[in-house]
């Protein structure tokens, strides 16, 4: 098994892990994190496809590499928007139930 295939399997596994987190984690923030994990697995797939197609003295096919760069920036923008949404939602709902959550903050750190 060569390096490209190894990382490819890693990417496939990461897609599975990220998808699992996205489905099962109820917390929005954790969902966003899982989405990023899933995304990076997909990017790795692009990476091994590029690596596999190394030719013409290049270490990899530059076309998928360029696509990954574009996709990483888009994923970051998506993350920023999702986090802003989560926080605004927290602000809106948090004002209604400030009393109930103060007891839980200490517990979480232990």
């Amino acid at each position: 098994m060569n390096a490209a295939t190894l990382f490819g399997l890693c990417g496939a596994a990461l897609v599975g892990i990220g998808l699992y987190g996205l489905i099962t984690n109820p917390e929005p923030l954790r969902k966003i994190l899982a989405f990023n994990l899933l995304g990076s697995g997909v990017f790795l797939l692009f990476g091994i496809i590029a690596r596999r197609a190394a030719a013409a003295g290049l270490g990899g096919d530059p076309v998928p590499q360029a696509m990954v760069i574009t996709a990483i920036v888009v994923a970051f923008a998506a993350t920023a928007m999702a986090i802003a949404l989560v926080q605004r939602l927290g602000d809106e709902t948090g004002q209604a139930s400030i009393s109930s959550d103060s007891s839980e903050t200490g517990e979480e750190k232990s």
């Binding site: 390096a3 490209a4 295939t5 190894l6 990382f7 490819g8 399997l9 890693c10 990417g11 496939a12 990461l14 897609v15 599975g16 892990i17 990220g18 998808l19 699992y20 987190g21 099962t24 917390e27 923030l29 954790r30 966003i32 994190l33 990023n36 994990l37 990017f43 790795l44 797939l45 990476g47 690596r51 197609a53 190394a54 013409a56 290049l58 270490g59 096919d61 530059p62 076309v63 590499q65 360029a66 990954v68 760069i69 574009t70 990483i72 920036v73 970051f76 923008a77 998506a78 920023a80 928007m81 986090i83 802003a84 989560v86 926080q87 605004r88 948090g94 959550d101 839980e104 979480e108």
Partner: protein
């Protein structure tokens, strides 16, 4: 097994473990820390895949900026703790099975590559010389698939407007809610005074070197954005109000220049987004320089979040 493959196996094992624990670990803070570590590991994987351009982007955006965003979010969501009702066991099992199926399908798909692996690398190298660029990835981004790159800048602007749209009405045009230090911390101020000059030089270097070596507008822009955020967080400078004209102008400078050069190509090179022969390299470098600034501002403002305070007149 060569030493290199030992390294690869160890790296993959580490990535998978850290990735899985980022999903499974109990507290959100631990998960985010895992994710930051994961981002660092991933940029090593990209180096091993001979994709240094991507490694740079991943180190800067995937690990650095996304980590910063998530850490900030975790910090704020602690005071408003979300009650984490776990999904039921049967559902988790079903989800696990589904995800395993997807992963297995992908694994099968990549395990059997097509017999002659199709590649555009020779075609890229053949057509790269007229543009004067030495970095094939930059060639793809700014010459062959320039339309994608241009549209992606618009995506960035829309995402920023989307983030801003989450502001309360009265705060529109005001300053973002990026959390800054309550007390000036001398250590942090020291860092915020010393690191940015270095970072800015490196960011400019990234942008400049991108024409011939790995690097470019994205990577350079991200470094600049990070330095800007550091200065703001340390309290040395205030985050700008989103209504500021200079901010808006900086945001669109890159895309506008890109679009203008693309339209000029219509006149001088008879195709939209074509570069006139002999002028390709200076034009691309100009576009990259302008984009670096615009990306820096856009990423920085994206990370800073929606405005929360009305601007003091």
């Amino acid at each position: 097994m060569s030493i290199a493959s030992v390294f690869d196996v160890a790296l993959v094992a580490l990535i998978l473990t850290i990735g899985a624990s980022a999903i499974l670990v109990r507290t959100a803070f631990a998960a985010v820390v895992m994710f930051v570590v994961y981002g660092l590991l991933l940029s090593m994987a990209w180096v091993r895949l001979h994709a240094v351009d991507v490694a740079l982007t991943e180190a800067a955006i995937g690990g650095g900026m996304t980590g910063l965003l998530l850490l900030g979010a975790v910090a704020r969501s602690r005071s408003v703790n979300v009650d984490s009702v776990r999904v039921g066991y049967p559902l988790r099992l079903a989800a696990g099975a589904l995800c395993a199926l997807v992963a297995a399908g992908l694994a099968v798909a990549i395990f059997y590559p097509p017999a002659p692996v199709p590649t555009l690398a020779p075609m890229v190298m053949e057509n790269l010389p007229p543009s004067g660029l030495g970095n094939p990835v930059a060639g793809v981004l700014f010459v062959f698939r320039a339309l994608d790159t241009l549209l992606e800048k618009v995506v960035l602007l829309l995402a920023l407007l989307g983030v801003w749209s989450l502001a309360p009405d009265h705060a529109w045009g005001g300053t973002p809610g990026l959390q800054v230090y309550a007390r000036p911390d001398p250590t942090l101020i020291f860092l915020a005074q010393l690191l940015p000059p270095v970072g800015i030089v490196f960011g400019i270097y990234m942008c400049w070197v991108g024409a011939k070596d790995p690097g470019g507008a994205f990577q350079g822009g991200t470094v600049l954005a990070a330095m800007w955020l550091l200065v703001i967080v340390a309290g040395l400078q205030k985050a700008p109000a989103i209504g500021r004209l200079w901010l808006r102008v900086l945001l669109v400078t890159g895309p506008v220049l890109f679009l203008a050069i693309g339209l000029a190509g219509w006149v001088f090179a008879d195709a939209f987004l074509a570069y006139p022969a002999g002028y390709a390299k200076p034009l691309i470098v100009a576009v990259e320089a302008a984009l670096t600034l615009s990306i820096a501002v856009a990423l920085g403002m994206l990370a800073a979040g929606p405005p929360v305070r009305a601007q003091q007149q």
